[in-house]
Amino acid sequence: MTFQSLLTLSLGAILVENFVLVRFLGICPFLGVSKKMNTALGMGMAVIFVMTLSSAATWAVEHALLQPLKLDYMRTVVFILVIAAFVQVVEMALKRFVPALYSALGIYLPLITTNCAVLGVAVINSDNATGFLESVLFSFFAAVGFTVAIALFASVRERLEHSDIPAPFEGFPIALVTAALISMAFMGFSGLQVF
C-alpha cells in the first residue's frame, strides 16, 4: 500500500464519508454520550479500539470460516456474535491487564455492542470484499472519523448549555439542529481529492 492510497483512504473515511455525519452510522452514541467533552473522547477512544480489532476478527472469521464452508448467508448472525463476544473479551482483558485503561473506557465498552458503526463497518468491508490490511485501516480511520465528529459535537453542546434556546427546541431538538449544521460543514468536504 502506497502512501498516496493511504492518504486517500484516511481522508475519505474521516472527512468525505464521515461515518456519523454522512453515512448515518453510530448516531445513538453520537447523540447519547456527547454532553461532555471527557465522556465523548472516552467513547471515541473505545470505539477506535474495538472497531479496529473487531474488523480484523470479522475479516478473519469471514475468510476462514464462512467462505470455505459456503455459509455466507449466516454473515449477520456470525458478525454480531463475534462483535459481542469480542467486546466481552476486551472488557475482561482490560480489567485484568490494563486497569488504568479499563477505568477510563470501562463503562463505554458494553454500549459498543449495539453501536451500529461497528457492525456497519464489518458489513461494508465484507460487501466491498477488501483485503485484510485495507479493511483494518478503513475501520481504524472510520472510527477516527467517529471520534472527530463526536468531539466537535461535544464542544458545541457544552456551550449550548448556557445559551438561550426557544422552549420547544430545548434538549434533544437543538442538539439535532446543531448536528445538522456540523453535517452541513462536512458536506463541504465532498469532492475533496488528494491528487
Binding site: T76, P173, L176
Partner: protein, 204 residues
Amino acid sequence: MKRYLSILKDGLIRQNPVFVLLLGMCPTMATSTSLSNAIGMGFAATLVLICSNLFISLLRKIIPDKIRIASYVIVIAGFVTLVEMLVTAYFPDIAESLGVFLPLIVVNCIILARAEAFASKNTPMAALADGLSMGLGFTLALCVMSFIRELLGSGALLGNTVLPEGFPRTLILTSPPGGFLTLGCVIALMQFILRKQKGKGAAS
C-alpha cells in the same frame, strides 16, 4: 381488547419509538430520504420486531437471566437474516437502496429495547401486539420524516413528481444534514404541542 388498543396507541403515539423514546436514530435518518425506502425499512423492521417479540416472550421462562441479552441478539439476528433474504429475493430495488441498513436492523435499539422491556415480561399475545404497534410506530415516524424530506427536497412522492416545476426544491433536505434538521424540527413541534396541551390542562 381494551388492553391491546392501549398497547397500539402507546406504540403509535404516546410511546412512539422514534419521536418520544428517541430510539433507532440511524435507520430513521438514513432511510427517510424517500417514501418508498421508508416504507420498506419500516415493514422490514416491523416484521423482525413482531417475530422476535413473539419468540422471546415464548422463551422467556427458558432463557437464563445472565445471558439473556446475548440470547435476544441471536434470536433477533436470525430473524433479520430471514427478512434480509426475503427482501433481497422479492424486492431487489429496495434491498439495493437500503444497502447496509438492512443487516443493521440487528442493532436497531428499538428491537432489543422492546425485547428487554416488554417481551421478556409479558405473555406472547401481548408481546405480539406490542411488536406490531412499536413497528407501526417506527414506520409511521419514518413515513412522516420521508414525506417531508421527499416532498420538499425533490418535489416528489414515491418517485412521482407532485410539485410544479417552478416550485423551488430545498435540496438540503434530501442530503445528510436534512435528516438531522427534519427530525429536530419534528420533535420540537411535538414538544410544542405537548406543552400547549399541558398548559391547557393546568388552566382548566
